[in-house]
């Protein structure tokens, strides 16, 4: 079923309101097998709205209209739709009763009664959180659904009434099975190049890459008559992808590196501490953004000066003086000393130059990441990142998590 979503309101076009409804309804339609092909926002203007409805009616079988059901003069969604369909709205006694209940003890403004008019031969969806009911009407093979604009009215109405209504509409039961693979350490274009032939030759399942701020996800989606068939259709594609680029895949779900790392640590009952210089707290923040991280994360140090690296993080002065703060020696010492001080099983360190200016004569983007592991030799990795200060900090923190994830995945050591 081909659908589109129209949001109505001049405030959208002035940028005063962010349109979240189109995303919400799209998210809800997708698993029902309803394909959304367009989102359109248009102002509170009869002529332009009429044209938008006309165009939508020529290309879609299901049209959502959100907003413009209020009591004021510039609310004209259903009136304009009625004009397009050439029908006359009629007063709905049940909606009048609903309104009277809501206003019990208060005077109902005359223009509120405008909200009691509905489509003849249409469907009325009671609004549990406001005065404007939802409305549906079908004409010439197109189903129109009008929904109130306020999110606290639209969302509950969708949950309670619209989803069940849509399920009845669906011509043939189609089910979707969607899998997401999360990658790090490989760019979107390189990933696609490696999978070019697989992506090109597939129509069901489809494969869609999405670049994240750091990392890429691939979504593999199959459509079939039932869940089992759809699920089975996805499997060969999944295997083929993993065979080629599995080394960069850190999760077979849509989750972040920090979530994966925290899960591993919990499973393996191991604890973590961090010590960071150029990322200035970002690594600790990423780790602690995961609920429940306190079970495995003890804490960290942000060592932004050499003084703090020496006095708080306990890097020997001669290491700092001989090799500098941005060096593999300092990265290693930071990690091993923090492992000891915090008494954890693992410790990550980051030291580097985030910019905008070079430091110690070392270039912007040079970063060392250290990993100390109880009872194991420590390791240091060197990177040369490009981009803004923000990007260098982000990549450094994410690569530290990726290094830890690789280590935890391999279970290279015994706990």
């Amino acid at each position: 079923m081909r659908a589109e979503i129209i949001t109505v309101g001049t405030e959208l076009l002035l940028g005063q309101t962010l349109d979240r409804h189109s995303q919400y309804l799209s998210q809800e339609c997708s698993p029902l097998g309803i394909g959304v092909y367009y989102h359109t926002s248009v102002g509170d203007n009869r002529q332009r709205l009429l044209e938008v409805i006309q165009l939508a009616s020529s290309r879609s079988e299901l049209i959502f209209l959100c907003g413009g059901l209020g009591p004021t003069m510039d609310d004209l969604t259903k009136e304009t739709l009625a004009e397009y369909l050439d029908v006359r709205l009629i007063q709905d006694p049940e909606t009048v009763t609903h309104l009277e209940k809501l206003f019990v003890g208060r005077t109902i403004a005359t223009n509120n009664f405008k909200q009691t008019y509905v489509f003849p031969d249409g469907v009325v969806f009671t609004n549990q959180n406001g005065t404007a009911p939802g409305l549906s009407v079908k004409s010439k093979g197109v189903t129109y659904i009008c929904l109130p604009g306020p999110p606290n009215e639209l969302v509950p109405m969708f949950e309670t009434s619209i989803r069940p209504f849509l399920l009845q509409l669906l011509p043939e039961k189609q089910v979707i099975d969607s899998h997401t693979l999360s990658f790090f350490g490989i760019g979107e274009s390189l990933l696609e190049e490696r999978l070019n032939d697989i992506i090109e030759n597939q129509t069901n399942p489809t494969i869609a890459p999405y670049a994240k701020e750091a990392g890429v996800t691939l979504r593999i989606t199959a459509k079939a008559k039932d869940k089992t068939t759809a699920h089975a259709m996805v499997q060969p594609t999944l295997s083929a992808i993993m065979e080629r680029v599995g080394e960069y895949c850190f999760s077979e779900k849509e989750e972040s590196l920090e979530e994966v790392v925290i899960s591993f640590l919990k499973q393996q009952q191991r604890t973590l501490s961090v010590v960071e210089s150029c990322t200035g707290g970002l690594l600790a923040h990423m780790v602690t953004s995961v609920p429940g991280s306190s079970e495995v994360f003890k804490g960290g140090i942000v060592s932004y000066t050499n003084e703090v690296k020496n006095q708080i993080a306990q890097v020997p002065l001669d290491v700092l003086q001989q090799h500098g703060a941005v060096s593999s020696w300092t990265a290693e010492s930071l990690a091993t000393q923090t492992l000891k001080q915090f008494q954890t099983d693992l410790s990550l360190s980051i030291t580097g130059v985030a910019g905008p200016d070079p430091s110690e004569g070392k270039p912007v983007g040079l970063v060392y990441i250290g990993l100390a592991e109880k009872g194991q030799p420590s390791r240091v990795y060197q990177f040369q990142f490009k981009g803004s200060r923000r990007r260098i900090q982000l990549l450094a923190a994410k690569y530290a998590l990726f290094i830890l994830q690789q280590c935890l995945k391999k279970g290279e050591t015994t706990t």
Copy 2:
């Protein structure tokens, strides 16, 4: 000038991505006197995109196309526009050089070169944060502007290149003077309520409030024939606003609390350290996200367990045992001990319950913020925040910065 915005990407229609660009561009166009009449989202589909471009070209003089400039096969915005305009894209040597600089030392994937093709007789806007340049081309009275989809590329490109470009396009030379005031500690609706009469009665200058993730900004914009007149028109409104809500205004520019704090510290030549529990590194990260923060920020501790609060952050055991980790006593001890250990002029501490579960029998959202100042009695502030874990962490870190900003502003103490 009649404009519309087209966002391109199947991820929008699947609801995987929220379209913020249409709102952002609308907000930016409005004070320039550019009227936005439609927002449209369409998928990565040549035929449908072509139809959308065709319709837009028939009704608008300025068309923004966002997204679909990436290196992969499903990025087809400029190719489809070129097809509609019946022109052949040409390789731009400067964009090739830019790409080679970005990739120095790494292999450029073949499909990245797709991004070096531009419109003949068009305008190319360099992308400081990515590989896809912005593009503009004019045909039959319609100006098209193609912008890259990632927000961290689109927004800086708009600020740097697109706004000046639009100002040149405007038929009548009009100059804009725009001032931004940044507020914290007051909600958008309360701010608007306090300024209701001023906002309602103004058409030039206009006053537009924007809610940020934490805080609100007000943009006051005047239009006139020259800069001096526009500037003078803004002043009485600015004074009226500051008289009513000036206490919440932390900057008369568009800048973040962390930027303001770092500027103050540099001016006053004072140093800072932080120690945080429930914010887990976010406060240090905010501070160190400001370039040049290393001049005044020495570092911090993330004390996620009582053990670390005691052994690393040196909070006496009896304080932790008697009052708990989430208490004003612990907040105070954290701040004063960290001030001593890090030998800084100021130290901020945060301890609280970010959730999702309560801790020590204390409710989610309870947060204590401590401020220690060399030679001054330390202070502790108690908050009860509402919302998700992420929101509580964000508010706690921002309030800590706001407390520090208020302290630095008052110059309550001598340096």
